[in-house]
């Protein structure tokens, strides 16, 4: 860094964009130019659009770095830009009331960002930024100085396991694929929901990982499988790929080694089943995404019948680091069985929502309370659901458990897609379970009977319970169904589809029984089992609930206690949400 420099970094991931980041960046440029700032302070100002740094609930985040000293502003609106330029960049005085506060610090201090680190620092649309951070050095080392088997050895020793699904050893998978006799082999990078920030913030790491993987298994062609709908990710990956091609990192005779490798996009579709390796390959081949029988495994017989490796973008992002810094460095992070870090999307009822990267094995409590800042609105933590829709529900009593492959499996959950949703005491566990099963039923591809019919029957029973017509025997049926689906479904979707029910039933049996036996929803969520009523002593007759009610069920005169017509009430809870006096109760 030069002795005199000004750098302005604006967060422009999906969330930064949604919060108006483009306009913020434009205004910074505008004011700096308009007020001849560069001439006045005698130094150049550099503008950088950076990827997501995870703390999206406070977007737009802006870093102003003057002579190496960084100030981060949060929730920057276009209207605030002028003052930041005048007071801070020209005047030299940061504006304390707009600076990112303790939350920002506590959100980041417990994280360990090895792959998300560069997101938020480098410009994802500029390959030179990536190269400056030692980018493509690992690929060069692998391709020119290491044998493919040498690369596989390092990856195996590092202990890296697949970040998408079942957590199979990445090195082992590569070795099996390399061991096949065929000359043609493929490597596929699956860019899923959680990988979005990586694709938007540091796309070159994914490409470099894919390149190293391609070299290791002896593939000539790699695919980036990504949903067409993720416009920004597609755009950034495309730009990155073009730049890598221009530099000669992708194409023919890479680094003068004689190794040829090309990468192509395959545009995926809106389909959960495509997270299953063989279904994804069917989709690339232009067919319905229905899983294949295995064995043979994809590493033996995959895309177009050739040996194929599929890893997700997060797994690939780790590869350049492992090759660059060594297997020992990587395996020093995490637990005995689960090495490295894992990215989770922390969402739901925590104060700080965002994308977090933690060392494997970190206790769930630390994520919820230190990184997440605790439960919003000072309510009580009820449960955390980890691993996406087919993950398990972990109750509050177990939140001291560490997050790694083994511990999660023990409690009936999975690392899965890295989704993490926090529920408070206002969430109904039965209703939440119904939501997951509804999703899985919709996404079941219909190929095998246990999953196609099992998810449907399961959903029907859960609807029955939340509608207040459930019977005790239904719980036995649900348990029996779960057992059958887990044992006999063709792929992971069906085998894990009962996770939400099994875990929630084990830990929240009373709540199921309350729905069935007492016809009550303790959290006051299930419409058929809840009644909204005005508490006349507390109601001041402000009329807020009357205005909020979409069904016209609330009546009453101003300054007099209101009333809810139960026949008209659609149980949406709008009145409950707007009332500031707690004068509406749920029963």
């Amino acid at each position: 860094m030069s002795t005199s420099s000004v750098e302005i970094k604006v967060c422009l991931g999906t969330s930064g964009n949604a919060a108006g980041g483009e306009e913020v960046l434009r205004l910074f440029r505008h004011y700096v130019f308009d007020r001849a700032v560069e001439a006045r302070i005698g130094t150049r100002c550099e503008f950088r659009k950076v990827g997501c740094r995870g703390f999206c609930s406070k977007d737009v985040l802006v870093d102003v770095i003057i002579n190496g000293s960084k100030t981060t502003y949060q929730s920057v609106k276009p209207i605030m830009v002028e003052r930041i330029v005048d007071d801070h960049i020209v005047g030299g005085g940061p504006i304390p009331e707009w600076m990112a506060g303790d939350e920002y610090t506590s959100f980041h201090s417990k994280q360990y960002k090895i792959i998300l680190g560069p997101c938020g620092e480098i410009d994802p649309e500029n390959i030179d930024d990536y190269i400056r951070m030692n980018g493509y050095r690992a690929a060069r080392k692998a391709v020119t100085k290491m044998t493919p088997d040498g690369v596989i050895d390092v990856v195996t020793q590092s202990g890296l396991r697949g970040r998408g699904g079942s957590g199979f050893s990445t090195g082992e998978k590569w070795r099996i694929c390399r061991g096949q006799k065929n000359d043609t082999r493929y490597i596929i990078g699956n860019v899923g929901e959680v990988n979005r920030a990586l694709a938007e913030g540091n796309p070159h790491a994914i490409i470099e990982g894919l390149l190293i993987g391609g070299y290791a298994i002896g593939a000539q062609k790699g695919y980036l499988y990504i949903r067409e709908r993720y416009h920004l990710s597609v755009e950034r990956l495309r730009t990155a790929l073009d730049q890598a091609r221009d530099k000669g990192f992708i194409g023919k005779d890479i680094f003068g080694s004689g190794f040829d490798f090309n990468i192509e996009f395959s545009f995926g579709t809106e389909s959960f089943i495509c997270g299953e390796e063989t279904a994804l390959m069917e989709s690339i081949e232009g067919k319905r995404a229905m899983p294949r029988y295995r064995p043979p495994f994809p590493a033996e017989k995959g895309l177009w019948g050739m040996p194929t490796v599929i890893n997700n973008a997060e797994t690939f992002s780790n590869i350049p680091l492992i090759i660059g810094m060594g297997a020992d460095w990587f395996s020093s992070i995490g637990t005995a069985e689960s090495k490295g870090t894992k990215v989770f999307t922390l969402s739901g009822k925590v104060k700080n929502n965002g994308l977090v990267e933690i060392p494997m094995g970190m206790p769930l409590r630390e994520i919820v309370y230190s990184i997440g800042g605790g439960i919003a609105g000072n309510r009580k933590l009820k449960a955390v659901q980890v691993g996406g829709p087919s993950g398990g529900i972990i109750p509050e009593s177990m939140i001291d458990m560490g997050l790694d492959y083994e511990s999660l499996r023990k409690v009936g959950s999975i690392v899965g897609s890295g989704g993490m949703v926090v529920f408070d005491d206002e969430d109904c566990i039965v209703s939440v379970t119904k939501f997951f099963v509804e999703f899985l039923q919709r996404e079941s591809c219909g190929e095998c009977t246990p999953c196609r019919i099992g998810t449907k029957r399961m959903l029907e029973l859960l609807i029955k319970i939340t509608d207040g017509t459930g019977e005790i025997e239904d719980l036995d049926t649900l348990n029996r169904l779960s057992g059958i689906m887990t044992a006999s479904s063709l792929c992971g979707l069906g085998r894990t589809a009962s996770n939400p029910f099994i875990t929630s039933f084990n830990h929240f049996r009373d709540e199921y029984l309350a729905h069935i036996r007492d016809k009550k929803c303790p959290a006051g969520v299930c419409p058929a089992l809840v009644v909204f009523m005005v508490v006349p002593e507390k109601c001041k007759g402000c009329g807020l609930c009357r205005k909020a009610c979409p069904a016209g069920a609330v009546t009453g005169e101003i300054k007099k206690a209101h009333d809810i017509n139960q026949e008209l009430c659609i149980k949406c809870g709008a009145c409950y949400k707007v009332c500031k006096l707690k004068a509406i109760k749920k029963q």
Binding site: Y230, A289, T345, N353, G354, P550
Partner: protein
């Protein structure tokens, strides 16, 4: 129509495309998959229409009916669900007078659709209006945005 399809077909033959990519191209070109287009392509490639429909109905990204001019997509992923996306959808359908099994208004101005997860969970609930992403959406703000679009459309009609 034939001319446009010819272009898609050529592209398909040159790039060794597959059935999904040809359907994606048709969807991008016409906004949905017109029956005539599928019959035409199926004749030209000598592939039974059933193969196209089999795929078109498997993936939710394909549509067999014309779509509205403005597309409002509500994310119904877990994080958005917990933050009340159902509520947003029900206020949308009632504002646009959509019946439970309809997704497009009669005048084909608006389509309301749900999507599984947009991966922007930290700004839930998320709504995408004509490719523009809006985070932390509230029912009030959404209604304002929709009304603005409705007003723009009716002004266009008058002009």
């Amino acid at each position: 129509m034939e001319q446009r399809l010819e272009g898609i077909l050529n592209n398909y033959l040159q790039n060794e495309g597959n059935v999904i990519s040809i359907l994606q191209d048709i969807e991008n070109e016409f906004g949905y998959l017109p029956e005539d287009a599928i019959s035409w392509i199926s004749d030209r490639l000598d592939v039974p229409p059933a193969r196209f429909y089999g795929i078109a109905t498997f993936y939710s990204q394909f549509h067999l009916k014309p779509r509205g001019k403005h597309c409002i997509t509500a994310c119904t992923g877990t994080a958005c669900h917990v933050k009340g996306s159902e509520w947003l959808i029900s206020s949308l359908t009632s504002e646009l007078h959509l019946l439970p099994d309809e997704d497009t208004t009669e005048d084909r101005k608006f389509t309301v659709e749900k999507v599984n997860c947009l991966g922007a969970c930290s700004i839930a609930p998320v709504v995408v209006i004509d490719k523009e992403v809006y985070g932390k959406m509230s029912s009030d703000r959404l209604m304002k945005l929709v009304k603005k679009l409705e007003k723009k459309e009716s002004e266009k009609e008058k002009a």
